[in-house]
């Protein structure tokens, strides 16, 4: 099946890309000689949850990591095309990826709290960026972040205990709190629930829905139910191409592309 010949990208992009929070055009990514993404164009709208789905190895993580330039850390990786954040090109030479990452936070597949106390985990970002002028302000940031991450009741008496001592689900919410603490505009989540049990997953999903009020969220997931539950828009990747993107409702009830149809009805993937 030739995907490129029949692009169903009508809904993926806006007419004016400056209206999007994050806007990607013709993004190609290469690992050495191997092409991992082919001409991906998509607009991520503000205060929505956008889910990226697709079979493993199709380039979802790769695309996500383009959005905060985490791919810069991989020696063999090369990115072409343009990606804008609020109408600003994030791949221009003048832009500092370190500052970009303060605006575009990331939550990873496996919970990865630092081997520090719960408090220090959350305070890490604010300290790095000098967001708090006093201890009281820092306390305030830490507490509100933990609250927004829905973790405060579970940890408020044990802030000085090691973050690595929490359960998997709590660790992941701690990582979300850590990301929130630097007040990013966009939060990228790469399969944030794949290492969690169903109850912890439900909690994180609930949290994602609340976070949408304040942040723009892009979430990669291998679970179609999860995409259906948490997202407003869904993009389907296949072999490095964005096959189809549209409202979640439409993608799951009435996919236009045969590949999407096949994937969500479980015929492959």
């Amino acid at each position: 099946m030739n995907v490129a010949s029949k692009p169903a990208l009508d809904q993926a992009t806006l007419d004016d890309r400056r209206l999007a929070k994050v806007s990607a055009r013709d993004v190609d990514v290469f690992y050495g000689a191997k092409q991992a993404l082919k001409s991906v164009s998509i607009d991520i709208r503000p205060n929505e949850v956008t889910a990226l789905i697709g079979p493993s190895g199709c380039g979802k993580s790769t695309f996500l990591r383009c959005l905060n330039r985490m791919n810069d850390l991989i020696e063999s990786c090369r990115v072409a095309g343009s990606i804008w954040l609020d109408g600003e090109d994030i791949y221009t030479s003048g832009l500092d990826p370190v500052q970009l990452r303060a605006r575009v936070g990331m939550v990873f597949q496996k919970p990865n709290p630092f081997p520090k106390t719960i408090y220090d985990n959350v305070a890490y970002g604010p300290r790095i960026h000098g967001l708090a002028r006093s201890r009281a302000e820092l306390d305030e940031i830490v507490m509100t972040s933990l609250e927004k991450a829905g973790l405060i009741d579970e940890v408020k008496d044990r802030l000085q205990e090691q973050g690595t001592g929490l359960s998997g689900g709590q660790q992941q919410r701690l990582c979300i709190a850590r990301a929130i603490a630097v007040s990013p505009e966009v939060i990228l989540m790469d399969e944030p629930c794949s290492a969690l049990d169903p109850i912890a997953t439900a909690k994180v999903e609930e949290l994602i829905d609340e976070l949408r009020q304040r942040f723009t969220i892009v979430i990669v997931t291998h679970s179609m139910q999860q995409a259906a539950r948490v997202s407003q828009r869904t993009g389907f990747f296949h072999l490095g191409e964005l096959v189809e993107c549209g409202e979640t409702e439409q993608i799951f009830t009435n996919p236009r592309h045969k590949l999407t149809q096949g994937y969500i009805t479980g015929r492959f993937g």
Binding site: M70, E75, Q99, M106, K110, F114, R178
Partner: protein, 460 residues
């Protein structure tokens, strides 16, 4: 020569046993029309082990006890006068007998009795060689035959082989353990003899070290003072200087290698650093004595400092260079073992690379790094050659790195070099020093391993 032929024959027998065992297992199971319990190799190994191991035991036993047995038989054959000589004299006599038997010139005239003894000696040796050959071959063939008889499809050869292999491994580690225990015990007993002559608190807390004891009691300046504090202090001072060099250089280069260096650079630097560890310490020693020490002395003179031409500084600096690879390669390992996800978490929050290293990577790797440093310290404390050549022999109690100091290891060497009575306090002092050194390094190593282990657990 005969021994090699014998061993070769035994090995050949084992190989034959292996082959026969395999064949027989196949044939037997075909005849009985049932699958053998184990794979054919296990039947082969089973027979091979049963033919090899008993013979090996016989052979080792012979190697261990033959000299003793032959000696006592020869002594018994000597005339009564000789048999009643004191042990040292008897030992000399036996040496002569052995030399005579080997056709080497002896230290005394050959009398008929000695010639007879040499004759006996030779005869016994030859008899012994034949006996061991016959016995071990018998053991090998017997073992082979018995094992082969037992090869049946329902023989659990795999389990039997596993058990034998386990015994073999236990045997090997027992040898290592017994050797260690033997060394420690001999250190301990000789030290106790020393502490009978010199009270232990004089040794541990005495401030003066001058181990010359009198050979004749009317000799001057030969009281002998065995206060080891100056030696410990010297060892400590030099190790401190060495760590002051090795710690920053080793750690920083490890951080560069693990975090910044492109892969190709790393492929060059890491082996180069490890070459440092392969340089014989005596080479470092003359580098210290001939290059670094004079340089430091001249530099000191220019600055108006009195730097002795054999100084703690020279030895410490060179020793520091020597242990850089110990620090850097362990630090590099533990830094690389810090999960990538932690780095990504930090970078993903907008931390720079150096912030990530300082606040996440190094703290996470710290236990491992400390472990590496402790191992390096124990290397430094045990090092001898560099200090012998560059730091001197004078047991000064000083904290001044420009002066000559001496260390525990250097004094052990000087105590034992040259003609010594073997039971004078001077010689025995070496054992006491060795014991203390051993205890200190042991403690350091145990602590280091403990720390490294805790680090490993954190990321499993």
């Amino acid at each position: 020569m005969q021994l090699i032929a014998l061993v070769a024959t035994l090995l050949l027998l084992s190989a034959v046993g292996f082959h026969l065992g395999r064949r027989r297992a196949a044939a037997r199971s075909a005849a009985a029309d049932r699958r053998p319990h184990s794979l054919p190799v296990y039947y082969g190994s089973y027979v091979a082990l049963w033919s090899g191991l008993p013979a090996l035991v016989v052979l080792l036993g012979w190697l261990a006890f033959e000299p003793l047995v032959v000696r006592s038989l020869v002594v018994d054959s000597l005339p009564l006068v000789a048999r009643e000589l004191p042990p040292e004299r008897l030992g000399l006599l036996m040496n002569d007998v052995r030399n005579l038997a080997a056709g080497v010139v002896t230290s005394r005239d050959v009398d008929p009795e000695m010639a007879a003894a040499a004759e006996t000696y030779l005869r016994l040796k030859r008899l012994g060689a034949v006996a061991v050959a016959v016995l071990s071959l018998a053991a090998a063939i017997g073992g082979l035959g018995l094992a082969l008889r037992r090869v049946r499809p329902d023989l659990r050869a795999r389990n039997a082989v596993e058990r034998l292999v386990e015994r073999l491994l236990i045997g090997a580690s027992t040898i290592a353990i017994f050797t260690t225990v033997g060394i420690v015990l001999s250190l301990l007993f000789e030290s106790i003899r020393f502490f009978n002559a010199v009270p232990i608190h004089h040794f541990l807390f005495g401030l003066e070290w001058s181990p010359q004891t009198a050979i004749r009691s009317d000799q001057v300046g030969s009281s002998g003072a065995f206060g080891a504090v100056p030696l410990f202090a010297g060892t400590f001072l030099i190790s401190l200087i060495a760590m002051a060099v090795a710690m920053p250089v080793g750690l920083l280069s490890a951080i560069y290698m693990a975090e910044y260096a492109p892969r190709r650079m790393r492929a060059i630097i890491k082996p180069l650093l490890e070459v440092l560890a392969g340089i014989p310490t005596v080479v470092y020693g003359f580098f210290a004595a001939l290059t670094v020490a004079p340089f430091l002395r001249d530099a000191g003179t220019m600055l108006g400092l009195g730097v002795s031409s054999e100084s703690a500084l020279a030895a410490g600096v060179v020793m520091g260079i020597m242990i850089i690879p110990y620090v850097s390669s362990i630090a590099d390992d533990v830094i690389t073992a810090v999960p990538r996800s932690l780095r990504e978490a930090s970078l993903g929050l907008g931390a720079t690379r150096s912030e990530t290293i300082r606040q996440v990577v190094v703290p996470a790797a710290l236990p491992g790094i400390v472990g590496g440093l402790l191992l390096a310290v124990s290397r430094a404390i045990g090092e001898t050659m560099i200090v012998v050549m560059a730091a001197g022999m004078a047991a000064n109690l000083t904290a001044n790195p420009f002066e000559t100091v001496t260390t525990v290891t250097v004094q052990i060497v000087t105590l034992l070099v040259g003609d010594q009575e073997f039971d004078s306090p001077k010689t025995l002092a070496a054992f006491a020093l060795g014991l203390v050194l051993f205890l200190v390094t042991l403690a350091l190593n145990v602590a280091a391993l403990q720390v490294v282990k805790r680090f490993r657990e954190q990321y499993d």
